[in-house]
């Protein structure tokens, strides 16, 4: 036991004296959170648009005022400049345009019908669709407002609710993903590198010749990274709560426990990698390319898994981060209890047990 403590202490020295490791350990989460939170957001906000108001009557102005009052658009008004729209699109200075015909108000009041044209830049189809939906919604809203004064015909008014995320905060979706990614990097990469480093340096030989149990080498390698990862979790959660305004709805203890399980999964993976490689570069490559890419692709936080072809979905199922992501989403964002995530937990447990068994079995007690 005392030997173990001595070893763990040494591992902490290693971590704290290696600036690169420290940077990866604590710089990475901050960078990722900030990146995903602010730069890589898929939210539609402050979109520049042009409104060609050819009517310039009360109704058109009311509608424009409504659009302007929303967060989504930054509007520029132009009168009867249909050609200007095209050149603005070409310049790329606007993403969509709304054209109101000359007799918009008259048509609306006298015939009960008026047409408007929405043009969107569909070179980015997702954004274009979103913009059209927003504009249509605003117009529909205005229409309802008019109908309050007039006798309405039949009307179906959908009442929509965005469950678990009423404000449509885009950060919500990726915070669990980023947490998974960080653990994958910190635990898997750093652990595998730190074990392989001992092999490379020749210190592993000395350790194997000593009475220190080889299995204990693995344990003492894993413990510091487990502790540091939990610290990391606290850091990431704090950043998400205070910076990105993502609240933790569920039981934080459950979240911590599930995270610990996932960390152990990643650690086992790291140990497994370290058993199969003999240089730090190889270990790094294997954990970065072999682990990070699948985590990014198959966790479901960047690309929805449901849209993937079946074979890829099957592959996704063996990526541990996918299950952890589901758990964090359920617990953290939806505030669900263990009852709802026991299946995912069981899968993770199974994976961990399997990985750990293989890692321990393959750990070369004897030098080759």
């Amino acid at each position: 036991m005392k030997q173990l403590l001595v070893f763990i202490k040494k591992e902490f020295y290693h971590v704290f004296r290696d600036r690169r490791t420290l940077l990866i350990l604590f710089g990475l989460p901050v960078v990722q959170i900030v990146l995903f939170g602010y730069a890589l957001t898929s939210e539609v906000k402050n979109i520049h648009m042009l409104i060609a108001d050819n009517a310039n009557d009360i109704n058109s102005q009311q509608l424009i005022a409504k659009i302007q009052s929303s967060d989504y658009f930054v509007t520029e008004k132009a009168i009867a400049a249909y050609t200007a729209i095209e050149s603005e699109f070409k310049k790329g200075s606007i993403k969509c345009a709304l054209v109101l015909p000359p007799h918009f108000g008259d048509d609306l009041l006298h015939t009960g019908k008026a047409q408007v044209q929405i043009i969107a830049d569909a070179s980015d189809p997702n954004t274009a669709k979103t913009l059209i939906a927003y504009l249509t919604a605003i117009i529909g809203n205005y229409q309802q407002q008019l109908n309050v004064n007039n006798a309405p015909g039949y009307q179906i008014i959908p009442e929509t609710r965005m469950l678990y995320n009423e404000e449509g905060n885009g950060s919500l979706n990726f915070v669990p993903g980023v947490i998974a990614l960080i653990f994958m990097i910190v635990c898997t990469t750093l652990t595998s590198v730190s074990v392989v480093k001992e092999k490379e340096m020749g210190t592993m030989e000395i350790l194997l010749v000593s009475p220190f149990k080889p299995i204990m080498v693995l344990v003492s390698k894993a413990v510091p990274y487990l502790v540091l990862s939990l610290l990391n979790l606290v850091l990431v959660l704090a950043l998400s709560v205070f910076l990105l305004k993502v609240e933790i709805r569920g039981n934080i203890i459950l979240l911590m426990l599930e995270s610990t399980l996932f960390i152990v999964t990643c650690l086992s993976l790291g140990l497994l990698i370290s058993n199969n490689t003999s240089s730090q570069q190889a270990a790094m490559l294997m954990s970065m390319m072999g682990m990070m890419l699948p985590t990014l692709l198959f966790t479901g936080f960047l690309f929805p898994l449901e849209n993937m072809p079946k074979p890829l979905q099957v592959i996704a199922n063996i990526v541990p981060a996918r299950w952890y992501y589901l758990i964090v989403k359920a617990v953290m964002l939806k505030g669900l209890g263990f009852r709802y995530v026991w299946k995912e937990t069981l899968i993770l447990l199974g994976m961990t047990a399997l990985l750990l068994t293989i890692a321990l079995k393959k750990f070369k007690i004897r030098l080759s």
């Binding site: 403590l5 001595v6 070893f7 210190t203 030989e205 000395i206 194997l208 010749v209």
Partner: protein, 247 residues
């Protein structure tokens, strides 16, 4: 009759159809400096690994520090020290931290570690560097330190696997002074080397060729036996007959 700290009897190790170590038998006395020579691929490393408790022999018997290599590997490990040609202390730990770590791994009490590491640092004249990272020391110092760490827990036997590789002649000479000192204090030294002048410093030398111990005696007797004026020449005469080459 002096104590035998290592004794091998018909020790063999096969990997598949390849016999790396072929029925070697020898004994090493307490406090002896035993040179274990052989070209690359002669089976030195394999034999040494068995004696260090890192691998099991295929057949034959051997005891190290009185413990059987088949069943008492853990006891063997507690009673030996090991140093390899690769520098094997932690570069980003200070001298004292390295000593503390390896002492701790061998389960020495903290008080002993502190006492002994102070003595050691003083003895090596490294008081000023004690709190410096080992990575900043020159290579010669590192090797001396590595040796001191290898015998820090006062093992019965220390195995040195080409300990002076890449070290300058002056430091090598100093290194051998340390080996003599250790042997004088009762530690048996089992050393492999490619420097034949170093072989002359050993009490007894064995030469392995193709998995077998072809010669074993004091350097003086070997020279007489092979009618040579240096161990270098003895080694050359023996190794020339080798069929295996390289590792």
């Amino acid at each position: 009759m002096p104590d035998k700290v290592i004794s091998c009897n018909n020790l063999s190790k096969q990997f598949g159809g390849f016999t790396a170590v072929n029925k070697i038998s020898f004994e090493v006395d307490k406090g002896e400096i035993f040179g274990f020579l052989g070209a690359n691929g002669a089976g030195k490393t394999t034999a040494m690994r068995i004696l260090c408790g890192l691998s099991y022999p295929s057949s034959g018997e051997a005891t190290v520090a009185g413990f059987d290599v088949y069943h008492k590997q853990e006891s063997i490990k507690k009673n030996i020290g090991y140093m390899s040609q690769k520098f094997s202390l932690y570069e980003n730990l200070t001298i004292l931290e390295n000593i503390e770590f390896f002492g701790g791994v061998y389960g020495l009490p903290r008080k002993d570690i502190r006492q002994r590491s102070n003595d050691l640092v003083q003895h090596l004249g490294l008081e000023k560097e004690a709190k410096k990272l080992v990575g900043e020391l020159p290579l010669g110092w590192k090797q001396k330190l590595a040796f001191s760490v290898a015998i820090f827990h006062r093992p019965k036997i220390v195995f040195l696997d080409e300990p002076t590789g890449g070290v300058d002649p002056v430091t090598r000479r100093q290194f051998w002074d340390m080996i003599y000192e250790a042997a004088a204090s009762g530690i048996t030294v089992f050393v492999t080397t490619h420097y034949m002048d170093e072989a002359e410093y050993c009490n007894r030398v064995s030469v392995m060729v193709d998995g077998k111990v072809e010669a074993l005696d004091t350097p003086a007797n070997l020279k007489k036996q092979f009618n040579s004026d240096s161990i270098d020449d003895v080694f050359y005469k023996l190794a020339r007959g080798a069929k295996r080459t390289g590792d």
